[in-house]
Symmetry: C2
Subunit: 434 residues, 2 copies
Amino acid sequence: MALDETHDPALESFVPTPEGTPFTIHNLPFGVFRPGPGFDARVGTRIGDTIVDLSVLEARGLFDGPELAGRDVFSKPRLNEFLALGRPAWREVRLALSRLLRRETPTLRDDESLREGALLPADRCEMLVPAEIGDYTDFYSSRHHATNVGVMFRGPDNALMPNWLHLPVAYHGRASSIVPSGTPIRRPCGRTLPAGTTTPVFGPSGLVDFELEVGFLVGPGTALGELVPVERAEEHIFGLVLVNDWSARDIQKWEYQPLGPFLSKNFATTVSPWVVTLEALEPFRTEGPVQDPQPLDYLRTAGNPSWDLPLTVALRTEKLDQPHVIAQSNFRHLYWNVRQQLAHHTVTGCNLRPGDLMASGTISGPEKHERGCLLELTWRGEEPLQLPGGEERTFLRDGDEVIITGTAARDGLRIGFGPCAGRIVPAAPLPAAS
Amino acid sequence: MALDETHDPALESFVPTPEGTPFTIHNLPFGVFRPGPGFDARVGTRIGDTIVDLSVLEARGLFDGPELAGRDVFSKPRLNEFLALGRPAWREVRLALSRLLRRETPTLRDDESLREGALLPADRCEMLVPAEIGDYTDFYSSRHHATNVGVMFRGPDNALMPNWLHLPVAYHGRASSIVPSGTPIRRPCGRTLPAGTTTPVFGPSGLVDFELEVGFLVGPGTALGELVPVERAEEHIFGLVLVNDWSARDIQKWEYQPLGPFLSKNFATTVSPWVVTLEALEPFRTEGPVQDPQPLDYLRTAGNPSWDLPLTVALRTEKLDQPHVIAQSNFRHLYWNVRQQLAHHTVTGCNLRPGDLMASGTISGPEKHERGCLLELTWRGEEPLQLPGGEERTFLRDGDEVIITGTAARDGLRIGFGPCAGRIVPAAPLPAAS
């Protein structure tokens, strides 16, 4: 990919873009929304505090390039049809949108009825999960996270499993419980083994945690048995979303052997509603960590397979007026990059479908304040977080809201995701026996 | 559930039902098929060697009971819409079909044009995966299997993990690579660690295995945060399918820690195209194993939560004229029953959707010939299987076909699934570097 006119820092839009918004004219993310209760969901982009209804522009014939002309992909309640088209179509739409929204382009700017139909106040719209996610895979690609967790549970000498530096470890997650930012997260009930006992008990989890992650949505799928060369992996990657892979650490500890986490992570996964495309992220390319040992051929990448994308986690308790920042990390800390993740995922022949979500795993950096979950930040609860006003936290309490944001900024460009947020609500009453 | 007129052993159909067919008038399974190339897929049932096109009967108004009248659920390429309706609708359709297909009922029997439209030779139809499977969960519910695997890898003193007898262990599988019986299974390539070395290598798996499993399809779904009491779990269970969870043991061994199997199992999972309903299985109810320690309240079941369903695995190598039976097990050996699996799956609040697949894990019995995978049958390859004609097998070779069948028979009733089969084809060439 190369920079093009859509990355020109001098671009301005006739749509107001407040100072500091992550939704500049250089961003142009994709999402699915309802304009109001009772409306059908459709695809939009966002600029400033405005959502642009792409189904209206499409119906008006404003996407008339060779890839999009005559298609109907934006009136759908999911991005999947658009994702399946591939990068030439994605670039075509991005360029068309960039031109339509510029200060000097009259098409939309001067057409009052079109503007009224297509431009909607974001705060009146309901954002949904952006795609029908057929399968959700969660990687474990941060070396700092894997090392911290390994030190806590196996000691410093066996922190990383022997396979960790050789392949991007991953597991299958649950697709049904992926929810958009803002959905309340009910504290799960489950089975735990209290410390020092051998009899498991049942009740609300006491160790609910967040996990700071970034995922990508798959574009064109692959056939069963088809192996994607790592050099071509990005052809299948549409864009990134923020992900919070909520986890119940006490349930996880008792259930996870030998087949991995199950109920401790499938009660909810929150995603940001806006998908930031690889095109938008292009100016923020970076190399990523040195990989030693060198990966086998099918995982060897060159160039800049990562992005300099700062990530922030803020916590708002019921007593706090303002969210309090508790972690700051960066996407570029990921040891295994997205090309390697996707290529590895297909190497045994597993097929991909448009809309599949592959998440990074918790993204921790080398510093203490860069740890991406409470398990690490409080070192298993041994070092509580000190919050303004004298509150402490080891794990999440009812009423706590976790807000993940991610915004890249450089040389006059600024793009981001908006919040990926969720608040913990009290556990449900246990099911009554009949 | 209770027995009703559809279980009467004296019932006969005007549609020929060859001696020994699992598709008797007492069965009436549901599946999705194409009548021929180019046709849209739709829902059918099967009797003898005949497929009954339910979309034709539906269009003719023959499902006119209170649950189905006016609906359009059988012209779909998936069972999901029908699954969502729930047990009263399933029973209504079963009763209507049982009556329509009886020898003494003239409606279909004497209407030549309707017969021509609705009754199709099974061997000219293409069977598909019966539902759009949103999420696939694989349990690990056979005590004999978990014990055998534990003895092999951890020794007899630590065979079962401490959690195993307390909860139905499970992990999330891959939905995209679920294929219908008959789909060729490509030998996966992947990363393995040869014995006695510390440097992983890449290439075709040398230890491809089958796993004899039975799964169920979820009917009506649940909301996020909703806990299903174990007493009501069967309201959400439509019927059973045979499942072969193909596994690459060498890839599994190197990749699976600490998050569980990933690429070693997601390259393909074969299901039988016919879903046998709980109604059809009712005469074969049985208690299942005694559970000690007694499960916690939310997993405590009474009555007969299992079925006496004999299962057979046959292997056909390229040199064999006939499939050779290599294992015989029974669904009733499962320690954790389907009600417990489903209730456990919702206990942290994970939502279910119609069409979700929950599989049992390998079903092994107490005897050596009842082991449900080659890993166990050959005890990690140490005791090769002896086949007719002098061949031996430890794991599967290219050209080998594995055929799982399951048929319950008792008191003049006989119902089954037909085959769940797949043949191993050679590994794909590695992707060329660009």
